[in-house]
Symmetry: C2
Amino acid sequence: MSSELVLTVYDWVPEPPRGLVRDLRVRWALEEAALPYRIETTPFRDRGPEHLAHQPFAQVPWLTDGELSIFESGAILLHLGELSETLMPRDPKSRTEVINWLFAALNSVEMAGLPWGLIAWAGEPEKSTEWPRFDGFLKSRLDRLEPVLAARAWLVGDFSIADLIMADVLRFPDRFGGLAGHPAAQAYLARATARPAFAKAYADQMAFYAAAD
Amino acid sequence: MSSELVLTVYDWVPEPPRGLVRDLRVRWALEEAALPYRIETTPFRDRGPEHLAHQPFAQVPWLTDGELSIFESGAILLHLGELSETLMPRDPKSRTEVINWLFAALNSVEMAGLPWGLIAWAGEPEKSTEWPRFDGFLKSRLDRLEPVLAARAWLVGDFSIADLIMADVLRFPDRFGGLAGHPAAQAYLARATARPAFAKAYADQMAFYAAAD
């Protein structure tokens, strides 16, 4: 059904983003589904035409599956979901809900969490003129997510790519205390990252970049 | 193949977001594909449990197709793409590329364009401590997009949901001059919004909210 899966990541990254580089999402999904894959690398410091041919924004990761080359973590997760029922249920209603939440994680939650996290990461957010705007934006999304996460273990039935991506986009603001006041989101994130497949993916990414130092 | 498509939008919105509310993306796609649909409304001022059952973030739009209820404009466009070859090609390689760009528009380009646009919309961005960060973020993405858009009329072969969403996410920063210095992006946006289906969708949204005043 699937050719060999090859995941391309940077050959090295500096310390700060380790554990957050987006190949983590894909490693996690591959581990959850027990899909065999191989890692290839592209230079972090020299992003040339071959890199741009696979990832036009000069980011990572991308995944190849035979003649298909897939970039954007959301697109890769959707592709892996098509390959594995462990990652995405097959009945049309559940499948639709998983895809709804996949986009929601990326475009409604990460859309608010990323600018918040960038300002927080830079330090002294209280001195930023934009803090009220982006802090309010993130809170407005977490306030809506909270009752959903309080009412169920996973977003759609069993654990799926919807949870994998939602948990991963929550990790960035959580690094700077952004989930404070949202205990259901904190518990959900703890539940997701306690999964052996996350631990394996995280350890693999950290070990990979440590070995490249 | 498809049941009746019902698109739910707010019953009214204030003046400023008119022409930008996200049901525009869906109206545009429905017009491109000449898919019949019906509009229903949900109260803008009172977002209750029925609204949240369809759209957990209390936003619009959502689309129902028989027993399926789809929220997030990206998920809706993907669903419509599955219904219409006009919106998404069928051969696996082109289909994969369209889906790559669908996610890229939402998670790489809108991710940079939205915070930029929010700061610009608030006025006096040069007084914002975050302007250099988010202006640089948007430029970094537009700089990568520029050679892609300069080299082809549409992202993947003929016009598809990839172009529809990419053009629509560019409209928000463009409103505040954010595409200055990126002539290929400006020309691409002009090309996309010159399509009769965009004009119809835009006029329909404006007329709908004007009638609700």
